[in-house]
């Protein structure tokens, strides 16, 4: 009886993802075609015949709408087609080769941001209006307002070039190589989550039910951990969806700066070269991740919130 509420919620939300995804693909498809230039524009124009052959091979000579439907028909089989630029590679292969590094950096950054952000936010909240609180929030403000592409060179300069502790870039599956990109990526998210947590924690700590918990003589660790933590984290949970999008956007820049062969690098490369299939593939792949992440967050939120969990049954 009770679980049908959540099950129903789950099914209807899942269904509503389909039009979102369709819209995303459609907009991306036409946007990239509107951008001037094409995949086979080179500095010296190709001979007419070769150009025509290439266009025919990739069906670029067909009317746009026909190409669109052809593409849609192709991707339902999860085939993103061949890359125009990286010869002998399919887009699926490129994604498979770039994603692990991106996931390692993005996932670690996400985890770090969640743990550090909530921890710092809670500390600031229980030390509200003290020097600790003010300095934490001051740093958070900086973390949010200074962009990635400024933080990254600074970190490289100090920790890699001067101190020589860490590599300035490049990619290996090692802690040392991951550290700087992960920190650069996580910093603004840590700062944002810390502020979010602080605000909601302060609000929760002023609520009547926390006063009740204190009146019951419960020790502070139970008051915070059991009574205050869950409601205080709800806004952070719902932020994890947008945070994923932010991390992905950030990683596109970060991967360039630290020369990491991840999805972000392929995306930038693909966009510059008008590698239609590669750009579409990465956009759809990222889109699915963001949509899925929002979906998971939504479910988690509903599951954590007893009022939503039961009322919609």
């Amino acid at each position: 009886m009770k679980q049908t509420g959540l099950g129903h919620h789950f099914a209807s939300r899942l269904l509503s993802l389909v039009p979102t995804l369709l819209m995303l693909i459609t907009i991306a498809f036409f946007l990239i075609r509107v951008a001037p230039g094409g995949p086979f524009d080179t500095e010296k124009p190709l001979p007419q015949e070769i150009r025509a052959n290439l266009d025919a091979k990739y069906h670029l000579d067909e009317p746009l709408l026909q190409q669109y439907f052809r593409y849609m028909g192709q991707i339902v089989t999860l085939d993103f087609g061949p890359s125009y630029q990286y010869k002998d590679w399919t887009v699926n292969e490129l994604i498979a080769s770039g994603f692990p590094a991106s996931l390692a950096i993005g996932g670690t950054a996400m985890l770090l941001a969640f743990v550090m952000g909530t921890l710092i936010g809670v500390i600031a909240a229980i030390r509200q209006n003290t020097a600790v609180d003010y300095s934490i929030m001051g740093m958070a403000m900086m973390g949010i307002s200074i962009p990635n592409f400024v933080v990254a060179p600074l970190l490289i300069l100090v920790l890699a070039v001067y101190a020589g502790w860490l590599p300035a870039g490049g990619w290996e599956w090692s802690f040392r190589h991951m550290l700087l990109p992960v920190i650069t990526l996580a910093l603004p998210v840590i700062a944002y989550i810390a502020r979010l947590t602080r605000g909601s924690m302060i609000e929760v700590l002023h609520s009547n039910y926390i006063r009740t918990a204190r009146a019951k003589g419960l020790p502070e660790r139970i008051v915070l951990g059991r009574h205050a933590m869950k409601p205080a984290l709800l806004p952070v949970i719902s932020y994890m969806g947008p945070a994923t999008a932010g991390l992905i956007t950030g990683s596109v820049v970060i991967e360039r700066i630290y020369s990491i062969p991840g999805l972000g690098s392929y995306f930038v490369q693909g966009a510059l070269n008008r590698d239609y299939t590669l750009v579409m593939g990465v956009v759809i792949f990222y889109g699915v991740i963001i949509i899925l992440m929002n979906f998971i967050v939504d479910m988690l939120y509903a599951w954590l919130n007893p009022k939503i969990r039961f009322d919609e049954g």
């Binding site: 006063r211 009740t212 204190r214 020790p219 502070e220 139970i222 009574h227 869950k230 919130n305 039961f310």
Partner: protein, 340 residues
């Protein structure tokens, strides 16, 4: 020895506008088995008085004076020390049942943790005990409903849960802060009746806060009337209902609806507003609204006391009363020595 003895309790809040003097020197004592009602208009400091005793004041609040519980001053205790008293020896029920329970935890979780923490009961024993308590406050299907979340309960049922929760450790003192104010009228009567009934079964003392004198007659032994953070009158139920001395108490009594009078034209709330707690006037704090105010009322009025302990703070003479040499009750800067 009294179970709880409060001496010259003061509470003030630091605000950007200045210091809010919410409680200004309150004295009272509660003995085992006794029920003290604290009555006063909204904003008279009733809640902050008991919050101070429980160590639950807001961050900007400061309490001074003494609150001796079994001889130990609660105001001097650290939160950690207070936790040995709160919830087990002194329990509290709050004004607003809709928000006083944690919406993210089941009733079971919120009830069992009290006995698991204070009495070190195991999960199973704690559960049994909680169900038993819910039955005692007459929640139907208690062993089923205990698994539900607060929002699945009505307001009256939630207050029953709060009552059951507060009684889990068999406290020596129960503080009930307007336990029925937020409820429907019919439910109010049920909850009041329930509290009175549960009280009779134990030797628990109770402080019952209300702004409604009609509620207290049946269930309290003594009544303390508060105005602007001061005690203006206190005495037995008979003292207050039949021999009310202070003009404010008499005003309150006149505003109580009574069956033997025509409710429509006799209900008269006291006109005017309580004084600004940021800058309390010297002298009697009720004088702006008092029909019997005189020139001399701008001086701090004397505290009268008769031999049974009926006390009143007013310039009007109390029959059989003598002026008490009390140290408390001076609002703000008004000096005690200037009392006549």
């Amino acid at each position: 020895m009294s179970l709880l003895e409060v001496k010259n309790l003061q509470v003030s809040f630091a605000t950007p506008e200045g210091e809010v003097h919410a409680v200004n020197g309150i004295d009272f004592a509660v003995s085992t088995g006794e029920t003290l009602a604290i009555v006063g208009e909204s904003g008279s400091g009733k809640s902050q008085l008991v919050m101070a005793i429980m160590g639950l004041l807001a961050q900007n609040g400061r309490a001074s004076g003494q609150a001796l519980f079994k001889g130990e001053d609660l105001l001097q205790k650290t939160p950690r020390e207070l936790n040995k008293v709160r919830g087990s020896q002194i329990a509290m029920i709050f004004q607003d049942p809709m928000t006083s329970l944690n919406p993210y935890l089941t009733v079971e979780q919120q009830m069992t943790e009290v006995v698991m923490y204070h009495q070190k009961l195991g999960r199973h024993e704690a559960f049994e005990h909680a169900v038993e308590m819910l039955r005692a406050v007459r929640i139907p299907d208690a062993e089923e409903r205990i698994h539900e979340y607060p929002h699945e309960y009505s307001g009256g049922m939630r207050q029953r849960v709060m009552i059951a929760m507060s009684l889990l450790c068999e406290p020596d003192l129960l503080i009930a802060d307007e336990p029925t104010t937020a409820l429907d009228v019919t439910v109010q009567a049920q909850i009041t009746y329930l509290i009175g009934e549960l009280r009779k079964k134990t030797r628990m003392a109770m402080i019952l806060i209300t702004h409604d004198l009609a509620v207290v007659a049946g269930i309290s032994d003594r009544i303390l009337v508060m105005y602007a953070g001061q005690m203006v009158e206190s005495g037995t139920v008979e003292d207050i209902f039949y021999r009310a001395h202070h003009p404010y108490t008499r005003g309150l009594l006149a505003s109580v609806p009574r069956l033997d009078r025509d409710a429509s034209d006799d209900l008269q709330a006291i006109p005017g507003n309580p004084p600004n707690l940021l800058a309390l006037p010297g002298g009697c704090c009720f004088r702006d609204r008092c029909t019997q105010a005189q020139e001399i009322c701008s001086q701090p009025p004397p505290m009268w006391r008769d031999e049974r302990g009926h006390r009143s703070r007013c310039v009007l003479e109390m029959p059989d009363g003598r002026v008490e040499n009390d140290s408390a009750g001076e609002a703000g800067s008004a000096a005690e020595e200037s009392a006549p």
